[in-house]
């Protein structure tokens, strides 16, 4: 029997270089037909690059793609689809203003001539949806759907194109725990039906839960391929990071100090002018981390923006210490020692084209000693950069390096150095470790815990429940702009938080 017979896909010696890095360094990957195969690795390990090569988005510099025993050229996503390979990207590729069915047939040659035939389309969609339990209204507009539903549309889109191989790029990062288990059920049904699934993730639990086999990538190389049954979490972590990993974070007992933030009946609108916050109230004390759990898009970003002066509230009050700061400007909030670690660090946190040196003074360039009247003091700015780079271990050739050339972890360190160097009273941290590797994640969490120790009040907004659970002293769950309840982190139960994230109000509500 030919060796490659049993494989749905075989990648041989894939090399892909980007300026300054080798993203894929001779990777071999063999995926059995009808299995869920996890690609596990830290950010920057080359998982997504490898899958983009398979999906025809990138051309490999070297190496071969073998499908069903035949070498193929994957020149474009269309070529991939012709070979029955589909991909669900981490950031969905849907048109928000179009309906589900319109998105599904987008780019396909359906109907007769210039006319669409939605009748047939609809039948086919509901047939597929029925078969795999992916219920959805084909005429709903994408923007009306929750993130979990949108993901379902992406999967339907691939199935509609009759794919045999489905690549899922970090599919769980935007889902509630319940939605995650629903997704896993769907994936298993698909595999039972003969599909092959490649599942990209950096979460060890998911690997254990869902996969048949797993290939671990590290720094562009395939370190090992294992059968999931024969491995465990610590073993995978060791392969992924290349050293032993401590799972427990050193966290000192809570030393609550004075009340630093009081939010009272806060209302605000989203960018679409729809109600995003509906009467949010909570208190936050010095030395405490309050985690905000919620499915993406339930008001947590608006909350962060209102608290940092980037968005106006329409009703309600914010007290910082004893000072009323409702609807103060972003600059005013910064001057009042409110730090903001924004969700999208590249879009908001830095100016990619400017140097590290300049990014480090993004908010304090107007203050002594960085400027004297109108003129900037380059000497002080440079010294500040050297200090920050050594304090926060920012790895870069020099402080003149443009921020866009840094890795995600180093960019986040630039943001942290800038935001935390002034000893803030209130820290609003949104997804502070999103997309960072284990090493950088550990470091960022350490920094936040040091601030907690120092007496800062921290509002930690994150979609990573594990992060919320390990870091927080109390957990606030938000749903559709309303507080579903605030729980004590010690005694909180992940199932209950999941239910609250889906809109169940906490019974013994305590504020």
């Amino acid at each position: 029997m030919d060796n490659s017979e049993g494989y749905a896909i075989e990648l041989r010696g894939i090399v892909k270089r980007f300026p300054g890095v080798v993203a894929n360094d001779g990777i071999d990957l063999k995926v059995h037909r009808g299995e869920i195969h996890c690609l596990l690795g830290e950010n920057g390990a080359g998982k997504t690059t490898l899958m983009r090569i398979l999906y025809g988005l990138y051309r490999p510099d070297e190496g071969e793609i073998i499908l069903n025993g035949q070498s193929v050229q994957m020149t474009s996503p269309r070529a991939a689809l012709n070979n029955h390979i589909g991909m669900v990207h981490q950031h969905f590729r849907l048109v928000p203003t179009l309906s589900v069915e319109e998105n599904i047939v987008l780019g396909l040659d359906e109907g007769t001539g210039p006319f669409m035939n939605f009748h047939k389309t609809r039948q086919k969609i509901s047939a597929i949806a029925g078969e795999y339990g992916l219920s959805i209204d084909p005429q709903a507009k994408i923007w009306q759907l929750s993130v979990g539903q949108q993901q379902r549309v992406e999967i339907l889109k691939a199935l509609y194109r009759e794919v045999d191989i489905l690549i899922m790029d970090e599919p769980t990062s935007v889902l509630t725990p319940q939605e995650v288990s629903q997704l896993f059920t769907t994936l298993r049904t698909l595999v039972d039906d003969g599909l092959t699934i490649i599942f990209i993730t950096h979460k060890l639990d998911e690997v254990i839960q869902v996969s048949n086999r797993v290939t671990v990538l590290r720094k562009g190389k395939a370190v090992s391929t294992l059968s999931t049954a024969e491995t465990d979490k610590p073993g995978l972590a060791r392969l992924m990071v290349g050293r032993e990993v401590v799972f427990q974070l050193e966290k000192s007992p809570l030393k609550r100090r004075e009340k630093l933030l009081e939010v009272n009946g806060l209302y605000a609108l989203s960018d679409r002018k729809l109600p995003a916050l509906r009467g949010v109230s909570f208190d936050l004390f010095g030395g405490e981390i309050l985690g905000v759990a919620g499915v993406s898009g339930n008001g947590q970003y608006e909350l962060a923006e209102v608290l940092t002066g980037l968005r106006k509230s329409t009703k309600g009050r914010i007290l910082l210490g004893k000072k009323e700061v409702t609807n103060c400007s972003a600059r005013k909030m910064y001057d009042l020692k409110v730090a903001h670690i924004p969700a999208e660090r590249i879009r908001m946190g830095i100016v990619p084209a400017l140097s590290i040196r300049e990014n480090l003074i993004l908010k304090k360039y107007r203050h002594h000693p960085f400027s004297h009247r109108e003129f900037l003091d380059n000497k002080e700015i440079e010294e500040n950069a050297h200090r920050a780079m050594s304090d926060y271990q920012i790895a870069a050739p020099s402080c003149e390096t443009p921020a866009k050339l840094l890795s995600g972890g180093n960019i986040q360190k630039v943001v942290l150095a800038r935001e935390l160097s002034e000893n803030p009273n209130l820290i609003v941290a949104v997804h502070p470790t999103y997309g960072l590797d284990i090493g950088a994640t550990e470091q960022v969490r350490q920094v936040l815990l040091i601030q907690r120790e120092r007496g800062a009040a921290t509002l930690l907004i994150s979609e990573d429940l594990e992060e919320i659970m390990t870091m927080s002293d109390r957990i606030l769950v938000i749903f559709k702009g309303e507080v579903m309840g605030i729980l004590d982190a010690e005694s909180a139960d992940i199932e209950e938080i999941g239910l609250m994230m889906a809109g169940t109000r906490h019974k013994g509500e305590q504020l």
Partner: protein, 359 residues
């Protein structure tokens, strides 16, 4: 085995200065080649035409002087535009701002009655304010009402053009202009000195050079410059950092409009000595300056070089008109082509495209 030519597109991490230079040079060369087709249609050898243009614009004292005097308004408008473009304000209205600067300066020259030595400085101040006011209107409309800056600045040009027409046909029509649509000639004290035997009104040239340096320092060394750069490179980060878009937009348009206004002062006080038809005052300097600023990659110092280059092209326009009997408007075709290729070539700055043979 048959081999096929394949190509690969990759994002560039760093864009070096020399790459920018060569890509820009390539864009100009491509424009030359395509413009050559138009010369061909007129039955003139493009090579011959380009030789004539170069010789005419640079080969003798008169040509050189014409090149420089054309470069002066381009320099002033261009420097101002680099600042506006840096802050992502798309000012297409330097033409109108230049005209309003000229109007304000003409008003001062004709009606203020200021004594001799004060007259020219007052004209420059008035011209700056005239241009700045014209630039601030679209700026305010954008930050207050969110109106599109490209449209408003462009439309303001037409208002300025017809306003000048109205002035010279109506209230400001000179009693001594013998029926022509001019104002009266300015008093002597309102004439800018020129270099001997040329039309180079050197005070405006010096002003342009100084302002280019000052703007370079402003952008790179000052708080306002930092704010402009942050807004230009990442408006979201600017909002995040609490930088006021309102204030910065007004500042850049004060500068951009004001500098265009100064260019208008130079043209009427240095060349024409009266307010006259808008197409005579400007010949499209405000529009050409957009290309000047873009070719300079929004660097105020580089505008000194690019404005001279376009000075050559405009002076060359006179040459093809006189020596070849071709319309001056060919120059506009050429300018348009340069901008076209310049913007088209940006892709080579952002991406690296490499070719290879594939089996």
């Amino acid at each position: 085995m048959k081999s096929r030519l394949g190509f690969k597109v990759e994002k560039r991490a760093i864009v070096s200065g020399s790459l920018v230079f060569f890509v820009s040079l390539f864009a100009i060369f491509a424009a030359l080649v395509v413009a050559g087709i138009f010369f061909r249609i007129y039955g003139v050898s493009p090579i011959h035409a380009y030789q004539l243009i170069l010789k005419g614009a640079l080969g003798n004292k008169f040509g050189l002087a014409e090149t420089v005097r054309r470069a002066i308004p381009l320099l002033l408008c261009g420097v101002g535009l680099t600042i506006a473009f840096r802050a992502l304000f798309w000012n297409i209205g330097a033409e109108g701002q230049l005209l309003m600067g000229a109007v304000a300066a003409a008003g001062v020259a004709l009606f203020s009655g200021l004594p001799g030595p004060l007259l020219l400085p007052a004209m420059f101040i008035g011209g700056f304010l005239g241009g700045a006011a014209w630039g601030l209107i679209p700026a305010i409309l954008k930050v207050m009402l969110g109106l599109n800056d490209v449209i408003t600045t462009l439309m303001m040009n037409y208002i300025a053009i017809y306003f000048v027409e109205w002035l010279i046909h109506g209230p400001w029509k000179g009693p001594t202009a013998r029926g022509f649509a001019y104002t009266d000639t300015f008093p002597r004290a309102a004439w800018l000195p020129t270099l001997y035997g040329t039309r180079i009104h050197w005070p405006t040239l010096v002003l342009g050079l100084v302002l280019a340096v000052v703007m370079y320092i402003l952008v790179n060394r000052t708080r306002s410059g930092f704010e402009i750069r942050v807004i230009g490179e990442n408006p979201d980060a600017a909002r995040f950092a609490g930088i006021s878009r309102f204030k910065t937009t007004l500042l850049v348009m004060l500068i951009s409009g004001g500098f265009a206004g100064l260019a208008g002062v130079g043209e009427i006080a240095g060349i024409h000595l009266r307010l006259l038809g808008p197409t005579h005052i400007s010949m499209g300097y405000g529009y050409t300056a957009i290309i000047v600023a873009w070719l300079a990659r929004r660097n105020p110092l580089a505008v000194i070089v690019t404005s001279l280059l376009f000075g050559v092209i405009m002076a060359g326009g006179d040459v093809i008109k006189v020596s070849l009997g071709l319309p001056f408007q060919l120059i506009n075709v050429f300018n348009g082509l340069i901008l076209f290729f310049l913007i088209g070539s940006e892709i080579f700055l952002r991406y690296k495209i490499s070719f290879f043979l594939r089996r």
